[in-house]
């Protein structure tokens, strides 16, 4: 499934219009940063098997996130590095090596209509993105000002350009940091221990809406029921059977299951790249460190975008 996504649709949740947006907002921003674009610019979020894409105009693109063995014509191209594509080049993805979602950003802006302040595809409302739906074979995404930089870009060369993101942080284990949820204290003492010490399998019911987990059966202390209340991406709810679900990018705006915890913002990106059949664990964190790690991440991305902007301008001048 391939859809247009940005950082999500804010400001309409009180109307039930959910945020959507990229599952892995770090990779989305990284792809844009390496092209010197606005960090939240619209990209294509791809799941494997992904689309085959023909470039009808020369451009520079960047892939981030999941490694689907990208090939431009017959030559492999790297992730996390800007790549020059010539008119007629075809981008293919042959095999999934790692991750679950790959992001494609292109230097030219895509000609897409904004809906409610965002380019993200909202599949439920069938609005936003490309006709409110997933991309299909034969779809054509136009560039705004397609011929800009034609003289510079059109050459015999296609392939990677000379800059990339520095060493990207890699996770050593699948331990995800959480903050206590409003109904954390509804859990029995032994269930709290299970959440913090147990391991949870990502089941096959894992999509943009949420990841259903399979782990130790949890129990609620008492009989309280929740009337519908706010939830968001990263919220971990306890389902009636005692299992957990982590809400992801296409989360509803409100829900009625106990919110036992929330995955911190910076860790959601890593979870978005974990496919089913992986085990995860949880570790309690606190607001201050959660905020700090997000601020640091954004500072890194802003800096990368600034330096890439200079490099891309220099590249376009050198060949002018």
């Amino acid at each position: 499934m391939d859809t247009i996504q940005d950082m999500g649709r804010m400001g309409s949740q009180h109307l039930g219009i959910n945020v959507s947006g990229a599952m892995d907002t770090y990779s989305l921003q990284l792809a844009n940063a390496l092209l010197g674009k606005d960090l939240g610019a619209a990209t294509i979020e791809m799941h494997f098997p992904a689309a085959e894409i023909r470039f009808d105009h020369s451009t520079i693109f960047c892939l981030t996130g999941g490694d689907f063995s990208p090939m431009l014509d017959q030559i492999s191209v790297p992730l996390n590095k800007p790549v020059l594509a010539q008119r007629g080049n075809i981008l293919r993805f042959s095999k999934i090596r790692s991750g679950a979602r790959c992001y494609l950003s292109v230097m030219h802006n895509l000609r897409i209509d904004r809906w409610m302040k965002s380019y993200s595809t909202n599949l439920k409302a069938e609005a936003g993105g490309y006709e409110g739906r997933r991309l299909r074979a034969g779809d054509r995404l136009d560039f705004v000002a397609p011929h800009a930089f034609d003289i510079v870009l059109t050459s015999n060369y296609s392939g990677a350009l000379g800059w990339q993101a520095g060493e990207l942080p890699r996770r050593v284990d699948n331990r995800f940091k959480i903050l206590r949820g409003n109904e954390w204290c509804w859990l029995s003492a032994s269930s709290i221990k299970s959440v913090l010490e147990g391991r949870f399998l990502i089941t096959h019911q894992a999509d943009r809406m949420g990841y259903r987990l399979m782990g130790p059966k949890l129990q609620q202390e008492g009989e309280q029921q929740l009337v519908s209340s706010g939830v968001k991406c990263g919220t971990i709810q306890m389902l009636p059977g005692g299992q957990l679900i982590v809400l992801m990018a296409d989360s509803h705006t409100t829900g009625g299951y106990p919110r036992i915890a929330h995955i911190i913002s910076t860790d959601i990106a890593a979870l978005a790249q974990l496919p089913p059949r992986n085990f995860i664990r949880f570790a309690l964190s606190d607001i201050d460190s959660a905020e700090r790690s997000l601020v640091e991440r954004q500072q890194f991305l802003e800096q990368l975008a600034r330096s890439s902007r200079i490099k891309i301008e220099r590249f376009l001048h050198v060949y002018n």
Binding site: M10, L15, A125, V227, S228, E291
Partner: protein, 257 residues
């Protein structure tokens, strides 16, 4: 009128917080939620990205990085937002910051449109006409909108026609379907799977992405249903009946008919 000492604040993850007024479906509690919703929204604070009312709580979403730039030194974004929320909610207000609109919604309660109405009537030992009369003789409040774009949670349904959700949810409920779940009633804005007991259908467009205001309702709206026949349903013309066609004044729906 104020919200003093009637709420508590708790983090909803690291980029939103929850203002809790009570885990109940209760008009007085929801009054506070809506008051807080309109007060916070009217401040248009930079970095506050969403304010979302529900039955008994309000979630306030914020951008951590933008809120960091607010005055307040080394405090966390969470603390800064919580402080502002406390300030806003502890002021005294003379008037409600909003005027609830009254929307009159036509509903066709024919069995073809409301497949569960017969079953509900039998279960409640009422005639179908009585169910219609009871459902359409009350004024409801839109307590919250959630679940999907434009799905209204309205209450409170007369005890005589309250009924639990269906045991096996339908895989497809038509757009405009009016349902009951316990003390709640609501309208499905678009066709979708759903578990509420469907008693009728409205021809009014609840959600249209091309309208300037894609969702007909707003939290706090008041709603009255009135019964129409199948012929009236089929002849319903949004323009003639005073409902928005997307080209109304300021794009706002004209309430009532």
């Amino acid at each position: 009128m104020n919200c003093k000492e009637t709420y508590s604040i708790f983090p909803l993850g690291d980029s939103a917080l929850l203002v809790n007024f009570g885990n109940v479906i209760d008009e007085a509690v929801n009054d506070k939620v809506l008051l807080a919703f309109y007060l916070i929204k009217s401040r248009s604070l930079p970095g506050i990205t969403d304010v979302v009312p529900s039955y008994g709580s309000l979630s306030i979403h914020y951008d951590i990085v933008t809120v960091q730039t607010w005055p307040g030194g080394g405090k966390s974004s969470y603390d800064k937002v919580a402080t502002i929320v406390h300030d806003v909610l502890n002021e005294e207000y003379e008037l409600l910051p909003y005027t609830p609109r009254l929307l009159k919604i036509p509903v066709c309660y024919a069995p073809a449109m409301g497949p569960d109405i017969g079953c509900l009537a039998r279960y409640r030992h009422l005639s179908v006409d009585e169910v219609v009369r009871i459902h359409s003789s009350r004024r409801y409040r839109v307590y919250m909108i959630g679940f999907m774009p434009g799905f209204t949670y309205m209450a409170e349904v007369d005890e005589r026609i309250q009924v639990r959700r269906r045991v096996d949810p339908r895989t497809r409920v038509e757009a405009g379907s009016v349902g009951i779940a316990g003390k709640q009633t609501g309208i499905y804005p678009v066709a979708s799977p759903g578990g509420w007991q469907i008693i009728g259908r409205t021809p009014v467009t609840i959600f249209n992405q091309d309208f300037t205001q894609p969702v007909l309702f707003q939290p706090g709206d008041e709603v009255e249903f009135y019964s129409i026949t199948e012929d009236e349903f089929n002849d319903f013309n949004p323009g003639h009946n005073g409902y928005h066609t997307g080209h109304g004044e300021n794009g706002k729906p004209a309430p009532g008919h």
